[in-house]
C-alpha cells in the first residue's frame, strides 16, 4: 500500500465514524421527550425517597433466596413478566403499575403502560427512569442477571419462583403483602382457591388422564415434573405421560408413540377461536407420519388449552377449569342445579377485576 490509499482510507474512516455519530446524535435528539425541562422525573423520585425515609423498610427474602429491602408504601411497581402484570391487575393495583414489558398483553390495558423492553432483555435504564419502588421478576422468564444488576443499583427486586399452582397462589399473596395490599391478595387467593376446590370436588376422585402437554411442536418440547404446568395438569385431572427431570425436556416422537398418551394437549400459538384451532391442529397432526400412529390423534383426543395455561397468573385457574371440562366432560355435564357450566377463561379472568362480572360468574356456577 502506498501513502495515498492510506490517507484516503483514513479520511473515509473518519467520515464514516462521524456520520454514524451524527446519525446517532440526531436519533437521540429526536426520540428524547422534551417534557418538564432537565432532570425530568427526578424530583418525583427524590420526593418519594424523602417520604419513604419516614417509615421503616421491610427486609424480606424473595423466592430465589435473595435478600431484598422493600421500601414502605410502595407506589411505583414495574413488572418484568406478563404473569406478574396480570397479577397486579387482578389485585386491582394497576394505578401503581409504572411500567411493564412489551410482552404484557393481559388484560389489554397493560399494553398501554410504558414498556421497559422484553422480559429477557429489558433496558435497565428504562427501568431506572421509571424510578420504581419495587420491581417484580420471575424465574420462569427473566434472567437472574437482570435482578442482580437492579439490586446493585439499590432498586428493590422481588423474584417469584412458583413451581406449583399453590405456590403461585402463595406467591400472589406474598407480592400483595409487599405492596400493602395484603387484604386484596387474601381475597383474590381465597377466590381462586375456592374455584380450584370446586374443580377438585368434581374430578378429584376420577383417575388422572395421561396426556402429552405440547409446549412446542417442532422440536417437540413438553413439561417436566417440577413445573407449575405439570401441577396445573394434575389440578385439571390429568398427568403428564412423560416423566422428566428437566423443566422443558425435548422429546422424540418415538417416545410419544411408545407411551401412547390418552390425550394430546396443545397450547395455542395463534389467536383464532379455539374451535377453529382444534380442528386445524388436529388436521396438522394427522398429516404428520409419526403422529398418525398415536391413538389419541386417531380418535381425535386432541385438546387446545387456553393460552393462560402457560402463565403462572390468576388466569391459570380459568385455564385449569377449561381443561378439566374438556378432559372430564362427564363430571361437568350435570352440576347440582342441573345446568351445564359455560363460560371460557377470559370471562373467568374478568371476574377478578370487575364486581359485575363476579356476580355473573357466581350465577353461572350455581
Amino acid at each position: 500500500m502506498g501513502e495515498r490509499p492510506i490517507t484516503r482510507a483514513a479520511r473515509i474512516f473518519v467520515l464514516i465514524s462521524f456520520a454514524l455519530v451524527a446519525c446517532a446524535a440526531g436519533h437521540a435528539a429526536e426520540t428524547r421527550p422534551r417534557e418538564g425541562g432537565r432532570y425530568k422525573g427526578a424530583d418525583a423520585g427524590l420526593r418519594q425517597a424523602a417520604a419513604n425515609e419516614k417509615r421503616e423498610t421491610k427486609n424480606v427474602t424473595d423466592e430465589t433466596g435473595r435478600h431484598v429491602a422493600i421500601p414502605p408504601n410502595v407506589q411505583r411497581i414495574v413488572t418484568l413478566a406478563p404473569n406478574l402484570t396480570e397479577t397486579i391487575y387482578a389485585l386491582g393495583l394497576e394505578d401503581k403499575l409504572a411500567g411493564d414489558t412489551s410482552y404484557c398483553d393481559t388484560p389489554p390495558a397493560a399494553k398501554l403502560k410504558p414498556h421497559v423492553g422484553s422480559p429477557q432483555t429489558p433496558s435497565l435504564e428504562a427501568i431506572v427512569a421509571l424510578h420504581p419502588d419495587l420491581v417484580l421478576a420471575t424465574t420462569s422468564i427473566n434472567r437472574p442477571e437482570t435482578a442482580d444488576a437492579l439490586l446493585r443499583l439499590g432498586i428493590a427486586v422481588y423474584t417469584s419462583d412458583p413451581h406449583t399452582v399453590r405456590g403461585m397462589l402463595d406467591s400472589i399473596a406474598r407480592m400483595a403483602d409487599l405492596v400493602a395490599a395484603g387484604e386484596h391478595g387474601a381475597t383474590l387467593v381465597a377466590q381462586l382457591q375456592a374455584r380450584l376446590d370446586a374443580v377438585h370436588a368434581r374430578i378429584g376422585d376420577l383417575p388422572l388422564v395421561h396426556v402429552l402437554f405440547v409446549v412446542w411442536e417442532d422440536p417437540l418440547i413438553t413439561v417436566g415434573q417440577n413445573t407449575f404446568i405439570a401441577d396445573a395438569l394434575r389440578w385439571s385431572g390429568a398427568e403428564s405421560a412423560i416423566v422428566a427431570e428437566q423443566n422443558w425436556p425435548q422429546l422424540s416422537v418415538e417416545e410419544v408413540v411408545r407411551v401412547q398418551p390418552e390425550y394430546i394437549v396443545l397450547t395455542p400459538n395463534h389467536s383464532e377461536s379455539d374451535a377453529a384451532n382444534k380442528s386445524s391442529d388436529l388436521e396438522k397432526l394427522r398429516a404428520r407420519p409419526a403422529w398418525k400412529a398415536l391413538k389419541a390423534v386417531e380418535t381425535g383426543h386432541v385438546v387446545v388449552a387456553s393460552d393462560e395455561f402457560d402463565r403462572p397468573a390468576p388466569g391459570l385457574i380459568g385455564a385449569i377449569e377449561q381443561l378439566a371440562r374438556e378432559l372430564h366432560p362427564e363430571a361437568f355435564a350435570l352440576s347440582e342445579g342441573g345446568k351445564t357450566i359455560v363460560g371460557g377463561t377470559h370471562a373467568a379472568m374478568e371476574t377478578l377485576t370487575s364486581d359485575a362480572a363476579k356476580k355473573e360468574c357466581v350465577s353461572c356456577a350455581l
Binding site: 500500500m1 502506498g2 501513502e3 490509499p5 492510506i6 482510507a9 483514513a10 473515509i12 474512516f13 473518519v14 464514516i16 465514524s17 462521524f18 454514524l20 455519530v21 446517532a24 446524535a25 437521540a28 426520540t31 428524547r32 432537565r38 432532570y39 425530568k40 427526578a42 424530583d43 423520585g45 427524590l46 433466596g65 412489551s102 414498556h115 421497559v116 423492553g117 422484553s118 429477557q120 432483555t121 429489558p122 433496558s123 435497565l124 435504564e125 428504562a126 431506572v128 427512569a129 424510578h131 424465574t139 420462569s140 427473566n142 434472567r143 437472574p144 442477571e145 442482580d148 444488576a149 446493585r152 443499583l153 439499590g154 432498586i155 417436566g224 428437566q246 423443566n247 422443558w248 425435548q250
Partner: protein, 343 residues
C-alpha cells in the same frame, strides 16, 4: 511508505483516542433514559467536585451505575479481543485466525455452563468458571500444538480447531440438561453480553483489575512486535536475523490467550471484533505490528462501544445482544472496506 516513527504511532493513536472519546460521549448520551450532553457534563463535574447529593438519584444510577461501567467494560473487551486477534493472526500466520480459533471461547463457555448447572445462583461463579475453562483450554491446546518441543503453527491451529469442536459437542450435550432459566442465561452468554453485573460490589476496583491485566498482556505482546514483523516474512528468515522465534511465539500465545480469556469471562463470546478490527487497521495503517497492536486495541474499543450503543438503542427499550450487533454491522463494513482496497 513513510518510515514508521514513534511520533507517527503516537499521533495515530491520539487521533483514534479522539474518535473513541467522541463515541464514548455519544454512547453516554444515548439510551432509553434521555440525557443531554449538558446534563452529562454537569453530572460529571458535580461528581468530580464531590457534590453527589446535587445529582438526582436516577442520573447517578444511569450514568455511574449503568452506562459508564458498561462502556468501560466494552472498551476493555473490544481492546482485548482485537489485540488478541492481531496476535493470533501473526502467530498462526493465518488471516482467518481470531481470538476463538484455538477453542478458548468454547472452553470458557463450557466452564460457564458447568457453573450454571452446579451453582446457578452464585454471582461471579460464571466469570470465574469461564476463566478457568479458558485457561485449561489454553494449556491443553498448547501441549497438543507442540511438535518437537516447539510451537508449530499448523499443528497448533489443528489442535485448537479440534479442541473447539470437541468442547462445543460437550456444550451441546450439557445444554439439553439445563433447565429454563439457566438456558436463557447461557444463550445470552454465548451471543456475547455486556449487561451482566460485575461479580464484586467494588466496580471501580474490578475494572481497574481487568485493565491492569489487559495492560500487562498487551504490553507483553507489544514487546515482540518488531520480531513479529520479521516472523511474518518467514520463520527461517527471522531465525537467521537472530530472532528467538520460540520465545516470541510463546509470549504471543500466552498474551493473546490471556486477553481472550479475560474478555470471554466477563462478556461471553462476542464475535467478529477480534477477526475484523485487526484487518481494518491493517488497511488503514499498514501491517507493521508496532503500529497494528495499539491501533487494533483502540479500534476494537471503538467498535464494541459503537456496537453496544446500537444494541441498546436500535429496538429500545429492549436490548439486543452486543454479539449480534458486531456481526450484523461488522460484516458489511468489512466487505465494503475490502472491496475498496482491491480496486
Amino acid at each position: 511508505m513513510r518510515p514508521l516513527t514513534p511520533q507517527r504511532i503516537l499521533w495515530t493513536c491520539a487521533g483514534l483516542f479522539g474518535v473513541l472519546f467522541v463515541v464514548v460521549v455519544i454512547s453516554l448520551r444515548m439510551g432509553a433514559y434521555p440525557i443531554s450532553v449538558r446534563d452529562i457534563v454537569d453530572t460529571l463535574y458535580k461528581a468530580a467536585a464531590g457534590r453527589r447529593d446535587e445529582v438526582p438519584v436516577e442520573f447517578w444510577q444511569v450514568v455511574f451505575g449503568l452506562r459508564l461501567p458498561r462502556i468501560a467494560l466494552g472498551i476493555l473487551v473490544g481492546a482485548s479481543l482485537s489485540t488478541a486477534g492481531a496476535g493470533f493472526q501473526a502467530l498462526l500466520r493465518n488471516p482467518l485466525a481470531d481470538p476463538y480459533v484455538l477453542g478458548v471461547s468454547s472452553g470458557a463457555a463450557l466452564g460457564a455452563i458447568i457453573s450454571l448447572i452446579a451453582a446457578p445462583h452464585v454471582v461471579g461463579a460464571i466469570q470465574i468458571a469461564a476463566f478457568i475453562g479458558a485457561a485449561s483450554t489454553i494449556a491443553g491446546v498448547y501441549f497438543l500444538g507442540r511438535r518437537g518441543g516447539q510451537l508449530d503453527s499448523p499443528t497448533l491451529l489443528l489442535a485448537g480447531i479440534v479442541a473447539a469442536s470437541f468442547l462445543s459437542a460437550i456444550i451441546m450435550f450439557l445444554l439439553t440438561m439445563v433447565t429454563g432459566s439457566e438456558l436463557r442465561s447461557i444463550a445470552f452468554w454465548l451471543m456475547g453480553d455486556l449487561t451482566a453485573p460485575p461479580p464484586v460490589t467494588n466496580v471501580l476496583g474490578w475494572l481497574g483489575f481487568l485493565f491492569f491485566v489487559f495492560i500487562v498482556a498487551a504490553g507483553a505482546m507489544y514487546t515482540t512486535s518488531s520480531d513479529l514483523n520479521l516472523i511474518l516474512t518467514g520463520e527461517q528468515e527471522a531465525r537467521h536475523l537472530g530472532v528467538n522465534v520460540n520465545r516470541v511465539k510463546f509470549v504471543v500465545y500466552i498474551a493473546a490467550s490471556v486477553l481472550t480469556g479475560l474478555a470471554v469471562s466477563v462478556s461471553g463470546a462476542i464475535g467478529y471484533v477480534g477477526l475484523l478490527i485487526p484487518h481494518v487497521m491493517r488497511m488503514f495503517f499498514g501491517t507493521d505490528y508496532r503500529m497494528l497492536i495499539p491501533t487494533a486495541a483502540i479500534g476494537g474499543a471503538i467498535a464494541i462501544v459503537l456496537a453496544d450503543t446500537l444494541a441498546r438503542t436500535v429496538v429500545a427499550p429492549t436490548e439486543l445482544p452486543v454479539g449480534a450487533m458486531t456481526a450484523l454491522a461488522g460484516a458489511p463494513v468489512f466487505i465494503y472496506l475490502m472491496r475498496r482496497r482491491m480496486r
